[in-house]
């Protein structure tokens, strides 16, 4: 599996009929230091991921083994949303620290 960041959504009206209703997201590969690389993949979403989240993607025929992608023509699926990542004893990512502060709304 590889580490990636959800950077966008993909909308397609003309597609294989089996893909109707499937959520497709654009994910960009990450290094273990959470730096974006140049490669992108369109992946089906099996866990309810959103833009900006760090996720894990499975590729190949394994991508068809979720309920939402069963027997569909897909070769990449998001199968986990990362809470934290530790490499070499160092926490390189923690979702709690990554969340942007919510802007205060107008006082009504």
């Amino acid at each position: 599996m590889f580490l990636a960041k959800v950077v966008g959504t993909v909308v397609a009206t003309q597609k294989d009929p089996k893909l109707a209703g499937l959520k497709l997201l654009l994910v960009q590969n990450l290094t273990l230091d959470l730096e974006l690389t140049k490669s992108f993949v369109v992946a089906a979403d099996a866990v309810g991921a959103g833009t900006g989240e760090v996720v894990v993607c499975a590729t190949g025929s394994s991508a068809r083994l979720t309920e939402v992608t069963h027997n569909l023509p897909v070769d990449a699926v998001i199968m986990a949303i990362v809470d934290s990542l530790e490499v070499g004893g160092r926490i390189t990512y923690n979702k709690m620290n990554d969340e942007k502060p919510v802007a205060a709304g107008p006082v009504s």
Partner: protein, 92 residues
């Protein structure tokens, strides 16, 4: 199957339900002389046995999905064993 060294862990509470109770490891694939090859990948450790620094072997591709009997999971890299020792012609 390929060999790799475990270099880290990944925690995810929101994941496909087939991974419940399993751990994800960050692994660096190795060659026969235990030199790193390629980029690190995320692999699932179905029995929660691996720790950082251990040398493991894993299956990749579609076979990684059916490592556990009667249990398919959307994984393309699954750890199947921990290596105690390994020898090639001139090295141990």
């Amino acid at each position: 199957m390929n060999i790799a060294t475990v270099i880290g862990s990944l925690w995810a509470t929101q994941k496909h339900p087939s991974f419940n109770g399993m751990k994800f490891c960050v692994i660096q694939p190795l060659d026969q002389h235990r030199r790193p090859v390629g980029s690190p990948i995320i692999a699932v450790d179905p029995d929660n046995r691996c720790g950082r620094g251990e040398t493991v072997f894993y299956v990749d591709g579609g076979d990684a999905a059916t490592v556990k009997e009667n249990h398919s999971m959307p994984s393309d890299a699954t750890i199947v064993g921990i290596i105690d020792s390994m020898s090639t012609d001139n090295h141990t």
